[in-house]
């Protein structure tokens, strides 16, 4: 079976992290975002993953060669010369997707959840039509495009963009499974699958919705990245509690790479991920943060809702909060206060940032 992942472009929404690392390789809960999907696909029997990319990255290619060997599957990169939207890449990869008549998966690359690939396959085979999409429940449907479908069968009636009156609280979760015949609907030009293809399929009775159980998050921006992390760690708590740290100094769900070093009198959590080689010195208080590989947090600092980039260093008695994101190799001097700062890579910060701001 095959799967196509819409990786897309530069991942600008996740800057400054994606200025030095391609978005699919940014670690989410200590594993590159892309691998969360690829590993689950492989587990569900997918043996060929196609990454639809609109820019080429040697780092990404090299990493994918390694993962091919590790997972025993094939990973191809399908490179768009011009942006093709969310449907165009399917036409571009048509050859690869149609060398047999099995259904194939299509995923947005920013989605994190308990991936239901086996259930999707069952659901799709059961109704026997061209396409199935996963939907998830949201609290405020008026912010999204919602899906209106028949509760019992899942047959989709229509899509409504940002509904002003309540019609449904289910939105497209960015995960699909299609039969190869569906590709006849798509031409090789920039096309939106959500706006141009799905409404027609729905009208013809060829599109079905399957409701996702459990958490779901689009982690394409730092704020949602942190929310997604909290949800993911809670799901780890339920499914593999042994992977989380417990004991004095740990509160709630905390994921720590075995090579991370933690000083005395720290209080960590809830919802913290510490990457490989991370050092927390004595007396650090950290909650709702991701600290990426090789970063160091010096004594007595306080961090909440931050992403600390690779190999960055946060000084002593620093306070960082409100979705402060440090790019790779950033230095924050002692005793500063960063409130919602977005700091580009390789910067040294020597003045507080009291209000949210981008530091070039």
């Amino acid at each position: 079976m095959k799967a196509l992942i819409l990786v897309g472009g530069y991942g600008t929404r996740l800057r400054p992290l994606t200025l030095t690392v391609p978005k699919p390789l940014v670690e989410f809960c200590n594993k590159p975002i892309l691998l969360h999907q690829v590993e689950n696909l492989a587990k569900a029997g997918v043996d060929h993953v196609i990454l639809a990319v609109s820019y080429m990255s040697e780092v990404l290619e090299r990493e994918m060669r390694l993962q091919e060997q590790r997972l025993g599957i094939r990973i191809s990169l399908s490179h768009e010369q011009e942006p093709l939207g969310t449907a165009g890449p399917l036409a571009l990869a048509r050859e690869l997707l149609t060398d047999n008549d099995e259904p194939f998966f299509v995923l947005n690359s920013d989605v994190i959840c308990d991936f239901p690939f086996e259930d999707m396959l069952k659901f799709h085979t059961h109704h026997g039509k061209e396409g199935s999409i996963v939907v998830t429940k949201v609290e405020e449907p008026s912010k999204y495009g919602v899906v209106v479908y028949e509760g019992e069968t899942g047959r989709i009636h229509r899509f409504v963009e940002k509904p002003q009156v309540f019609v449904s609280n289910k939105i497209n979760a960015g995960m699909y499974i299609f039969s190869p015949s569906m590709l006849n609907r798509i031409q090789l030009r920039p096309t939106s699958i959500e706006k141009e293809i799905f409404p027609i399929m729905a009208k013809e009775g060829h599109l079905y919705a399957m409701e996702l159980q459990g958490f779901w998050m689009d982690i394409g921006q730092p704020k949602d990245f942190l929310t997604g992390m909290s949800m993911y760690l809670q799901s780890v708590r339920v499914q593999n509690p042994e992977k989380l740290c417990t004991g004095p100094g740990f509160l709630g769900n905390v994921l720590v790479d075995p090579t991370a070093v933690i000083g005395e009198n720290c209080t960590i959590g809830p919802n913290v991920t510490l990457g490989a080689g991370v050092v927390l010195e004595d007396g650090v208080r950290i909650k709702r943060c991701t600290v990426l590989k090789g970063a160091r947090i010096r004594s007595h600092s306080w961090l909440e809702s931050c992403i600390v980039g690779w190999s960055s260093s946060v000084g002593q008695w620093v306070r960082m909060e409100n979705v402060t994101v440090l790019g790779e190799d950033v230095i924050v001097n002692d005793e500063l206060y960063l409130n919602g700062a977005n700091v580009l890579p390789h910067k040294s910060i020597s003045e507080s940032v009291p209000e949210p701001r981008i530091i070039m």
């Binding site: 009198n265 004595d282 007396g283 208080r285 004594s299 007595h300 306080w302 909440e304 002593q316 008695w317 306070r319 909060e321 005793e335 206060y337 009291p354």
Partner: protein, 432 residues
């Protein structure tokens, strides 16, 4: 024989120093670990021939003041007395009212100083200057150089380059007059009372014009006749009459009007301690806390004995009586008043922490310094306005007495009035 008079004001004055002046008369507020006034008293006690220090103000006699005066008397072996004005009489009215007390014993000269100035107090230099210039004049004014813009907030002096006579004196002019400003520290001969007396007479004559006024108004105008401002009423007319001389100091000087200027003044005095009182400064030593720059710690303050090294204090930190400091605490450019408690890992920058206040673990209490421009050698501290453009001017953070700051919050550029338990972070606010 010499005397000194210190004008300490009263509770209606010093409002820019609130909420700290609610708890203690402003002259007793600790600057560099000792009451503001003590710097004056110590300087006076060092002058040979100094027999008595008289404080004039309109505070009701109170415990704090009398306790301090008797302890100062013992410590500095000099007579210290407080004389209370019946009403605020200005910088010259109280002085004139108590002239008999000041002149009793026949001092040849006496110093007059405002309590809310911070200075090197070059009293011996002023005396020498006074003697070098003969004794025909009746006053020497201590002065310093300001920048043009800030000079407008002070008494401005034009001097004769040759003789240092004051040729012109004007209080807070609207346009630039001179960059030499009055420090509020003077040396007077008894002759000054002749000139103040003339102002008093003139005031009384003006008030005694036959006007059909009710009794209360008569009382009011009687009081008004006794209100005399040395600067406007006396110096301005004495200028150019070979009566008033100016001694310019290169030493440090600042007003202490706002709470923010207390931190700046502390820095100046702590720096002076290097020469005058090295024993008051903490030195980094084995087994002690880590100290950066000048730090005063009261001997009764307690630093967590298990983690002394993780505490980092300074520069410019004064820790008061009985203060408790936890592990991993950071304090810089701040005054911590007696009985306050700083819990583990908290960080206090550019702030005044009030008596018996508590700062929780990992809390951050931070202000914005209002220091003079460091690149302008003549710049003075700005303590004019609390608000600018409709918003609170970012200033140092002040916690009043008995304020509780919970763990992990940030209090930034805020003023917290006494006896508040905060439950969240605050920025740029006055918290009633």
């Amino acid at each position: 024989m010499l005397k000194a008079v210190i004008l300490i004001g009263g509770p209606q004055k010093g409002t820019r120093f609130r909420p700290l002046s609610f708890e203690v008369p402003k002259p007793l507020f600790p600057v560099a670990g000792v009451p503001m006034l003590q710097h004056h008293i110590e300087a006076c006690a060092k002058v040979p021939g100094m027999k008595e220090i008289i404080l004039i103000g309109f505070y009701q006699p109170n415990d704090a003041l009398s306790r301090y005066l008797s302890s100062a008397q013992q410590e500095f072996k000099i007579l210290v007395r407080y004389l209370q004005e019946f009403a605020p009489l200005g910088t010259g009215g109280g002085l004139y009212h108590f002239r008999d007390q000041i002149l009793s014993g026949g001092p040849s000269a006496f110093f007059l100083m405002n309590a809310d100035v911070c200075s090197e107090f070059p009293l011996l230099e002023m005396l020498r200057f006074h003697r070098d210039h003969g004794d025909v004049h009746c006053a020497v004014v201590l002065a310093t150089t300001a920048n043009r813009k800030q000079s407008l907030n002070y008494g401005c002096i034009v001097e004769s380059q040759k003789t240092h006579e004051v040729l012109h004196f004007v209080e807070k002019p609207a346009t630039f007059v001179s960059d030499i400003i009055n420090c509020g520290i003077y040396l007077f001969t008894p002759e000054i009372f002749t000139h103040i007396g003339m102002v008093f007479q003139r005031n009384q004559e003006e008030k005694q014009l036959p006007l059909p006024t009710p009794r209360e108004d008569q009382l009011w105008s009687r009081q008004r006749a006794e209100v005399i401002h040395l600067e406007q009423d006396v110096f301005t007319s004495l200028a150019g009459q070979q009566q008033l001389y100016v001694y310019k100091t290169q030493g440090f000087w600042s007003q202490i009007k706002s709470a923010g200027s207390a931190i700046y003044a502390s820095r100046l005095y702590l720096n002076q301690y290097l020469q005058t009182h090295p024993e008051r400064l903490v030195s980094s030593q084995e087994g002690g806390c880590t100290v950066n720059g000048n730090v005063f710690i009261h001997p009764t303050a307690l630093i967590d004995p298990t983690a002394v090294v993780s505490v980092l204090l300074g520069p410019n930190v004064s820790i008061g009586k009985g203060v408790c400091i936890g592990a991993g605490v950071r304090v810089r450019e701040s005054i911590i008043l007696h009985g306050a408690s700083l819990q583990d890992h908290c960080c206090v920058l550019n702030s005044i922490v009030g008596w018996d206040s508590t700062i929780g673990k990992w809390a951050r209490v931070e202000g914005t310094p209002s220091d003079p421009n460091p690149n302008d050698p003549f710049a003075k501290i700005n303590s004019e306005t609390l608000f600018r453009d409709g918003g609170l001017t970012p200033s140092i953070t002040i916690l009043g007495c008995n304020v509780n700051i919970p763990s992990e919050v940030i209090i930034r550029n805020s003023i917290v009035l006494p006896h508040k338990d905060l439950s969240r972070s605050f920025k740029n606010q006055i918290i009633l």
